[in-house]
Structures are given as C-alpha cells and as structure tokens.
C-alpha cells in the first residue's frame, strides 16, 4: 500500500487542458460506465441500502471538475460540473485519492484521518458508499478495456503507462501493496 | 412504587459517608444499597463504618444490600468480592464476578451495571436467585415495560434509575488521576476532592460528562420526575435515587411526594433543580432522542 502522505496530484498542465473541454459528453460516458459497473456489481447497490437515493458530490480538488453521483437504486447517473453542485454528501480530495480508494490501494479511514479526503453533509451515506465500493472490488481499467472492444490492447498499454507516470491507481490492486 | 437509595458512587470522607447513611434511617425510602461500587482503593477508609450503618438501617426497617465492585481485576478485589457473600444481607451484583461467589439458591439483587437488556437474561438471573433488578439506565421505555412485565411473571422486582448523574462507563484507567498527571497506583485519592464528580465540558463550554475516578458519569442528573406515571403503568416497582451532596433528605421527600401524587412532575423538577449538581436534568434514555435530552421545558 502506498502511504497517503504522498498522494499524487493531477499535474497543473493536465488540469488546465481539461478546463475548456465540454462536460456533458464526459458525464454521459461516466454514466454509461457506471451503469455497466452497476449491472456487474449488484451487491454494491444493495450495500448502499437507503442511501442509494442520495446524491454524492465528488469534488476533485486537483482538477477543475466535480462529479455528481446519483446511484438511484442501480439506475446510476453521473454528471460533470465545474463546481461541486448541491448534494446530500460532498466528498473532496484529489482524483488519485478517489481512484486509489476505489481500487483498494488506499484505506478510506486512513484518507479521512489524514484529511486527504474530507466529508461534508451526510457522513453516514459517505461511509456506506465507501464500504459498498470497497466490497465491489472494482477495476476501472479492466472495465474501460472491455468497453474499448478492438482498441483493448492499445488502451491497456496507455493505462499502464499513465499509472506508472502519475502514480494514480487505475487498476485494482491485488495483494501488491505490502 | 417505592424508593431505593443506591450505593454512593463517589469518594466521601468517612464522617460525611456516615452522616449520609445515618440520615437515611429517618427518610421515606424502602431500601438502601451501600458499599463500594467504583474503586477498591477507597474502601479501607470507611469499611469499618459499613457494619454499623447496615445495622442502623435494618433497625429502622429498611431493606439493605451491599454492592459488589463494578470492575474486578486484582486479586485483592476478587477476595473482597468473595467476602461479600459472607455478609448477612443480600449482595447487589454489579459485575458477574460476584455471582460466582454466591451459593446457588441464595437470593441476590442485580444492580444497574449488569447488562439486563432482555427477557432471556432476566429469566436466567431469576433462576439463579435474583430478587430485584435495577435496569441499565440506557434502556428505552419500551424495553423497561417488557422487562417489568416479565419481572412480574417471574417474581422479580424491576427498578429503574430514578435520580442522579448517570453511570455511563467504567474503565481500567483512572481519569481523576490522569487529570492530575498521576498514575492510578499513585492517585493520592484525588477523586475525593470532587464529591459529586469532576465536570467535563465540551470545547464550547457545554457541560457534558463528569469523571469519578475510573467511572464516567453524565454531567446532567437523570430524573424520572416526569416519567412516574409511564413507569408505574409499565409495572416498575421502584425508583433508584443515587447519592449526591446537598440536602438528600429533602430530595427523597420530594420524590416520595411525587409518588404519592402530592406534586406533579414539573413541580418536582423545579424543586430539584437548584440543588442539582451540574444544574441540568435529563430523562432522554427513557423517551428522548438521546440520553442527555430532557422531556420538560429547558
């Protein structure tokens, strides 16, 4: 496991490059991806229980970007925003913290203790989301590659290179963190 | 419904301890539990006064029991606990350790620090010889009602925490000593400086808890002043009044007046408040959102 003291941040140049991009297509792509995840990991939404109807604002502090996640009982919707919109829960932190937690590279509690991630609003819902994602053993890179069809092999190479260069976990970490 | 005076949780000097217990002979309570509940180190100071107090209270027609220690870890504490069974009055079990030393068939009482949360536990204790059970203070009214009904069926009197700072936790660590930068073994009995416990406030100055050696109490005094009818309807047999400084005889008379219907809940609460350590009453465990809540006007 990597220490949380050295969370990689999104390079300012990349953040600047993202700023002018239109947000709607990104939201659509993320929604499609998360519905795919939802179909493959039904237990994740069961774990959210009564919190599945809430909205989670994920404020990426190292990017000019915030995501609004509405699990909606399996009919997931993700929209992209310039600023974190109103939501029952707001979780703020660098992209690498979110991806690292999702992939089991970081421990959510440790990220909260160190305040690499901060929670405002419904803390219980945030906890439920974290636990549900931890149990789902997600692998974003693998999901993206499945979506990519014939481009699967080149995409894998790009993701692995990106992971190495940025230190951001894009694959599920499997027993390699000790 | 009648009144029980619980064991003094605090460390009082012997004259105060003696005067308090002598005073109980003349006031309208049905029974008294005495002895050391919180810390075995305090006991040598006043243990010689216990037999005389027991004798006087029995002579005054009170039922009397001696409490066991709440947390027993040392050899000396195990011996003390075993010796309780040799006394002529029932033991109030406040840790199951004491039960191990009570011969089968010998009646005993169960104090609020034993976890009696349900009918199964009450039934097991009743079969072992429990005569009275003072329920844990955190139980909601629904549970109290269930247990009182089961107690009636089993012939076990059910008692509820009636008045006093609520015992919330017990620890291996002494917080009084810690506040004085001392280890427990070298505490120099600093808990004796705070005869109603030492108050602990939040950082914004709100009274919250009170430490009493290894015990943590609420800053507010629980009071069942406004719950008497509900508890009586539920079949509760007694209210437990926990010792505090000030005019305890007056406090007891006020509760007796309340049980007899001579004053109502708000009048009792208003009369109690000026003498209440911490200056706040609570009854939230029974019907409120949290233990610290109070059902009456603030």
């Amino acid at each position: 496991m990597q220490t949380t003291a050295t969370l990689p941040l999104c390079p300012p140049l990349l953040a600047a490059a993202i700023r002018p991009l239109p947000l709607a297509p990104l939201g659509l792509a993320l929604s499609a991806l998360s519905r795919r995840l939802a179909a493959r990991h039904p237990g994740m939404f069961r774990r959210l229980g009564g919190h599945a109807g809430k909205r989670f604002a994920l404020d990426l502090t190292d990017m000019p970007l915030a995501l609004l996640l509405a699990p909606g009982g399996g009919r997931v919707r993700i929209t992209a925003h310039r600023r974190a919109p109103a939501a029952e829960v707001r979780i703020s932190g660098p992209l690498s913290a979110f991806l690292g937690m999702m992939h089991g590279a970081y421990d959510g509690d440790a990220l909260f203790f160190s305040r690499d991630l901060t929670v405002e609003g419904d803390t219980e819902a945030a906890l439920a989301l974290r636990n549900a994602i931890d149990d789902a053993e997600l692998d974003l890179a693998a999901e993206l590659q499945t979506l990519a069809g014939p481009l699967r092999a080149p995409l894998a190479a790009v993701l692995t290179a990106a992971e190495r260069r940025t230190g951001v976990a894009l694959h599920r970490v499997e027993g390699a963190w000790a | 419904m009648d009144l029980t005076v619980g064991p003094n949780p605090f460390f009082w000097d012997t004259p105060l301890w003696q005067a308090f217990h002598d005073g109980l002979a003349d006031i309208p309570v049905a029974r008294v539990v005495l002895g050391e509940l919180v810390c075995s180190k305090r006991l040598p100071f006043y243990q010689d006064a216990i037999p005389g107090a027991v004798e006087r209270l029995l002579a005054a027609g009170k039922e009397v029991a001696v409490t066991s220690l709440a947390l027993v870890t040392l050899k000396r504490e195990r011996k003390l606990t075993a010796d309780l069974a040799d006394m002529d009055v029932p033991v109030e079990v406040n840790d199951l350790t004491a039960l191990a030393h009570i011969p089968a068939g010998r009646p005993f009482w169960v104090g609020p620090l034993v976890n009696v949360y349900n009918e199964g536990t009450l039934g097991w204790l009743a079969r072992r010889g429990a005569q009275r059970v003072c329920l844990p203070p955190e139980l909601p009214l629904a549970s109290v009602a269930r247990l009182a009904a089961e107690g009636a069926r089993l012939g076990v009197a059910i008692e509820v925490w009636g008045h006093g700072r609520v015992p919330l936790a017990i620890s291996g660590r002494c917080y009084h000593a810690r506040l004085h930068d001392r280890a427990k073994d070298n505490c120099q009995f600093v808990c004796g400086e705070d005869p109603d416990g030492r108050e602990v406030d939040t950082l914004d100055g709100r009274p919250f808890l009170a430490v009493n050696g290894v015990q943590t109490l609420s800053a507010s005094c629980a009071s069942m002043a406004r719950q008497v009818e509900a508890l009586r309807d539920a079949g509760v047999a007694a209210l437990r009044l926990s010792p505090q400084t000030g005019d305890f005889a007056r406090l007891t008379r006020l509760y007796a007046d309340r049980l007899a219907g001579r004053i109502d809940g708000d009048a009792l609460a208003a009369a109690l408040l000026p003498d209440t350590p911490g200056g706040r009453l609570s009854d939230g465990f029974l019907t409120g959102a949290a233990g610290a809540a109070w059902s009456g006007a603030a």
């Binding site: 089991g104 509690d109 305040r115 636990n131 | 947390l71 027993v72 204790l125 950082l203 465990f285």
Partner: protein
Amino acid sequence: MMELVCPAGTPAALRAAVEAGAHAVYCGFADETNARNFPGLNFSREEMAAGIAHAHARGAKVLVAINTFPRAGAEPLWHAAVADAAAAGADAVILADIGLLAHTAERHPGLRRHLSVQAAAANPDAINLYAEAFGVKRVVLPRVLTVAEIAAINREIDVETEVFVFGGLCVMAEGRCSLSSYATGRSPNMNGVCSPASHVVYAEEGPDLFARLGGFTIHRTPKGAPAPYPTLCKGCFTSGPQTGHIFEDPVSLDATALIPALAKAGVRALKIEGRQRSRAYVAEVVRTFRAAVEAVAAGRPMPEGALARLSEGQARTTGAYAKTWR
C-alpha cells in the same frame, strides 16, 4: 502458533484476510445483532455462507459475532442469527448476552461459543462462571488488563483466551459503556454502533473545523490540520483549568511488540480490530501480523512492522497491557 483472528466487514475483506494469512476471520450479519452495525458493512445470509465456504476451502475458520445485547421483545432476531450462523457452518459464534448464551447452549450445544469482549469478563471468577454456565470455550479479554494479569488469569482458567493486539482502542470496559447513547441515542450494546456517523456533523466556524456528535463538540481543529473522527472517548474536552484528551488521546492499539510476552502468558489467539476498515487495510495488517506470529513461534526476532500510517492520528499505544496506562 498463536491463532490470528482477523476482521472482515465485507466478503471482499474476508477473502483479502484469508489470502493474507488469517487463521480465522470474524464477521457479522448486516443488522443490529453485531457490534459493528455500520452503513454498507457486514454480511447477508448468502454472503455469510459463501464466505464460510471460501474460508474453509483455504483452511481458515470463520467466527460469527452476534455480540450486541438483544432488545427486549425482539430476541427471536438474535436467536435466528445464531441458528443461521450454525446452518452456514460457522466455526464459532461470539456472544456477549447472558440470555443469548443460555439459549445457544441449550438449542445449539454443538456450536462452539466464544465470549465476546462485550461481556467484559475481566477475571478468572467471571470467566469460570461463563465457562461452567454456558460451556464457553474461549474468552476475548477486555482491554483493561496488563500482560501479567492475563498470565495470572490463564493459570486459573481452563478455557482459551484471545486478546486484541491492533486497531481501535476502547478506553472503557467494552459492553459497559453508554457514552454514545447519552450523546446520540445509539449505543454499542443496543445498536452495535459507537459515535455513529449518522450523528456526526463537521462545521467550519471561523478558522476552525468543529466535529460534533449529537450536537456535542468532540474536536476543534484548525482548518487543514488532521481531524480525527469524533469518537466520543477520544475527544478533546475541558475540565476545570485543563483542556485536552481527558479520556484517551486519538491513538490506536499496537501490541505487536508484546506478541512474545502474550504467547508466554498463555494467550491462544490474537485479535485485530477493524471490521469497518477497507480490504486494503485488512490485507496489510494481517500479512504483517502473520509474519510476526510465525517469527515468534519459530523463536526468531519479530520483523519491524510499518503499520503506523494506518493508525488513527498516526500515534500508537500498548494500552492497558502496560500498567502505566492506568
């Protein structure tokens, strides 16, 4: 070798713990019957059966914690949890309530019973009472004892002992604490939660971040400084002229260095706290402790652990195991 008993809040954590070398995993059903009844955690009946099968196939045991105190009028919920654990093939159930112990001893005599730390049996007399009355085979010792006291207890009892070695640290005797329900109405004994997230509010006021529990301020930290979760007994309070962590600093237990002494004291099993932690955390801690118990069993010096950064506030304590803690 001492048995390593590891936490699992989710099936993924159970698999991670087994993979990392846990001899036994403890977990609970997703309801108020277990003392880590947190949102998004724990096991459905199907997940429990699958988790037990997974562990058994790899030579690990599963201990099912049913260690809250059943609510009056609702005991069948707890009785069903015991029956379902037995049916799923659990190697033992971890119980705290007298009534539930009596029920289990009577109805499921073949199901191994461990006494939960929530029962706070802190001396040989109490432990022997539970052993005689309910056939308890192992006792999880409360975190109020020194190593010397644990050794003395083991000389006077016939059942196994299990002690906590790593993770969150209760400073109060477990199962005997109502601090949480005093502030929030929800308690470990009744609801399986302590200082629940549902009652936590963080508020920025001026230069400070306030962490409140049930409206009571538990911490105030400058913005940007580490802000521990507002666990009540680790809070910062004022008493008279003093302000500070009146009960306990925001530390977590690390008794790694005491493993040889605990082995010598006759302890049968070491328990790691943390069913609310991630599978990543569980795997790392379990792997580290497995190496440590193997080293101790082989008479080798213990490997240096690197667990501090997983701990709360990055500080560690050996807790009550050292007498000075008191």
